[in-house]
């Protein structure tokens, strides 16, 4: 297991900029994802994690472009599969700090099964979902977090007619150990949530409301809608559920901080291959 210095006091070595790459993002001007990038680099510099000890895995989507814009080890994988890639990485290399990033489509639509099972497996990693309730990259279709009456997509011109998914509720049911929501318009809060998520053991989910200014221009109004109601986390699943039953989707803060056992595959390293071969001998 990696031991993250979650109470850094020494002279800082890394500035936020040290976690950025030279590559210019393909994002639209004003996209919420820029703030998430800044917040992430800020969080990492607060934790003073050496960039080469951190891996950032993503899927496909505007938000999933994140890794290349950092100076971390990145894996920009395929649509919906960021969590399995990250799971394999962390299981094989428990010494690394593993982060995962992506969109609501990537994570809750095509990647929904891995989301369920990553929460359940509760491996120590932090999953940042930039939720804009739309498929940005493919030019504006409804995602699982899109309201049923949104008619902005040519694919569902009458609206989807189906209820939006509640990702935090699913995460809580499925066993995630740390669950938070934040808003890209408040990058300091995003950074704080990321820090706490990284420091929390097990699987941490951070839903970042991150406006898509191109296909959901009305999301610029998020800043009037969010309210930091969850300033103290609860540690009891029941209380967390009760919080969610009252949720309007815009409460921010740490919803839940649990106590579930993270999954640790434990190699025992007791035998040589020659020992194993002997078992085939007559």
């Amino acid at each position: 297991m990696n031991t993250i210095p979650c109470d850094v006091t020494a002279e800082p070595t890394y500035s936020a900029n040290d976690y950025k790459s030279q590559i210019k993002p393909v994002w639209c001007p004003g996209c919420g994802d820029y703030s998430v990038l800044s917040a992430l680099t800020k969080a990492l510099s607060e934790l003073q994690l050496p960039p080469e000890q951190v891996a950032l895995v993503s899927g496909i989507g505007c938000s999933s472009r994140l890794p290349a814009y950092t100076s971390l080890y990145g894996f920009h994988s395929i649509h919906g599969r960021a969590l399995p890639v990250a799971t394999g990485l962390k299981a094989a290399r428990p010494d690394l700090t593993v982060l995962v990033a992506g969109g609501d489509g990537d994570g809750f639509s095509i990647g929904g099964n891995h989301f369920l099972h990553a929460c359940r497996r509760n491996i120590d990693m932090t999953y940042i979902v930039m939720d804009n309730a739309v498929y940005g990259m493919t030019k504006g279709q409804a995602s699982p977090t899109t309201a049923p009456d949104w008619t902005g997509s040519k694919l569902t011109p009458e609206g989807t007619g189906i209820e939006a998914i509640h990702p935090l509720e699913i995460a809580l049911s499925a066993g995630a150990n740390f669950i938070a929501r934040t808003f890209a318009g408040q990058p300091n809060h995003v950074a704080q949530m990321i820090c706490e998520g990284i420091c929390a053991p097990g699987f941490s989910l951070i839903q970042v409301l991150s406006p898509c200014v191109t296909f959901r221009p009305e999301q610029r109004g998020y800043k009037e809608q969010v309210h930091q109601d969850w300033s103290t986390p609860v540690t009891d699943r029941k209380e967390a559920f009760l919080r969610l039953l009252d949720d309007d989707g815009f409460a921010t803060g740490v919803l839940y901080r649990g106590n579930h056992r993270p999954f640790h595959p434990a190699p025992d390293d007791t035998l040589s291959i020659a020992d194993l071969e002997k078992r085939f001998a007559l």
Binding site: I23, V26, P50, P51, E52, Q53, A55, V57, I60, R65, P67, A68, T70, S71, L72, Y73, G74, F75, H76, S77, I78, G80, R81, L83, P84, V85, A86, T87, G88, L89, K90, A91, A92, R93, D95, L96, N113, H114, L116, H117, P265, A266, P267, D268, D269, T270, L271, S272, I273, D275, L276, E277, F280, A281, L282
Partner: protein, 582 residues
Amino acid sequence: MSFSSVSIAMTGSGGAGVMTAGQMLVDAAARAGWYGLMGRSLGPQIRGGESAALLRLSPQPVQSPDDFYDLLVAVDWGNIERFASELPLHAETVIISDPVQGPVPALMLEQSPRVIEVPLKEIARSTPGGRVNMVALGLVAAAIGIPAATIEQVLSTVLGKKGPEVIAQSLASLHAGMQAAEPLAGHLRPLAPPTAAGQDRWSITGNEATGLGALRGGVRFCAAYPITPATEVLEWLAPNLTHVGGTLVQAEDELASINMCLGGSFGGVPSLTATSGPGLALMTEGLGLAVASETPVVVVDVMRGGPSTGIPTKSEQSDLNIAVYGLHGDAPHIVTAPLSIADCVFTAQWSVMLAESRQCPVIMLSDQAAGQSRAVLDRPTLPDFHAHRLRAEAAEGDYQRYALTADGVSPMAIPGTAGTTYTADGLEHSPKGTPSTQARHHQEQLDKRLRKLTEFDYGPAWAEISGPPDADMAVITFGSITEQVREALARAAETGLHARLIAVRLLAPARPARMVAALQGIGKLLVVEQNHSAQFHSLLRAQYDLPPLVHTLHRPGPLALRPHEIVTALGALAQADACVAA
């Protein structure tokens, strides 16, 4: 037949236990110095249902099934019509039938075998706690001449955990069976005496051998989703990978398992998973990512009857197309196939080495016939090669993950190394790894990814070639049916029909120069494979210039190709007129 062996089928449905009996028989024969092979024919049921243990024992090494069964012991005839065709008999076959199970089905009498009635069930009943499969075991062991002491010892070891009472009861049944073997005397040729073991012997299945080869090659991470007939690879790896310091994660599905492997491999740990056709289908998107991001990974596909869910418990070689061509885009990768049960160790180990060395996915095409059969064989001499990945050292400068090198392989940085951070990408990219839509970058990276595979020297392991250098006929094949071809060629040679064997272990990329050499002097070629549409033949046509006359012998599963059929096909090829067919 070029050497002496005895082939035995034991059939029985429900909890009759013919698999246990068969297993003990092979074990005992092995301890007594014989070589052997035991395959399985199973119905779709989880418990019960028809099943047959298919054995062949011999003083010489043997990994191919024979043409016919010399002895068929039917503990019962349940559902025999479902797999009778998998049990070829001839006029010399002895059938042991229990009269209480009804008359021998007409289907089994077509070749006029000799039928001997033995009241197996009654004999079992006559010993307290008697078990009919142990009676059958005793009968067979005695009939073919396995020393009583050995079989007793095996029985006691296998049933060890069940306690002395069960052992005693089983031994009693065994002895009763041995005594009942008397009427067989003279009807069945006993096994020729065993050869002294010049070398250690192993008893191993293809799936275990694959797991072992993986570990020897350096695999230390596996993500697993069970599927018949690949599960035993994963189940063997689960504890053993852990024992040697590795990790296995059970995944939620095959999309997860392949991508977990990519994560592990990205982390620098050689990774492997095993599956069968339906799972491989789900993995092709991940395999494409492995190609584009140049992440080493090995997928073992233990083939079964297809398409779709098909026939999960039975063997076929019909995943060649998807393995070679099943990725979208231009996605060069490596496809290998083990040539026998024993060769599963070598080929798995080699596959890991190739994946790591070429930084690409390798699909290894095993099959149910190899994977779920057990062979007693000489301990294989195993190669030393293991995972060697070209790693980037800690650097200050401008690290280019996908640098355009002469041989196409670029040093790969492993997370944890300072100064070489990069982002692996399935989007097309520049040498640095930055996503790019430029024609030049695309061309360069496509060239590089192809070059690193085609310009590598795979050495002689690409195929096993044997037989007379002056032959003008050859048989080309792949996968576990190579053993049948070997036996057929040995037999044909005894009748003066000489042909070369080309058993291809490397199915992709193509090795044109090597193939030209392998086909030197060959005017007639027989392509042997176990599938319906002659996939191997069409692959060969696409990639190589073949001799003027090509015949194919292909058949879907589950009926194994038998050596005599290959001999016959070879005879027909020898007779055929090149000009007519060209």
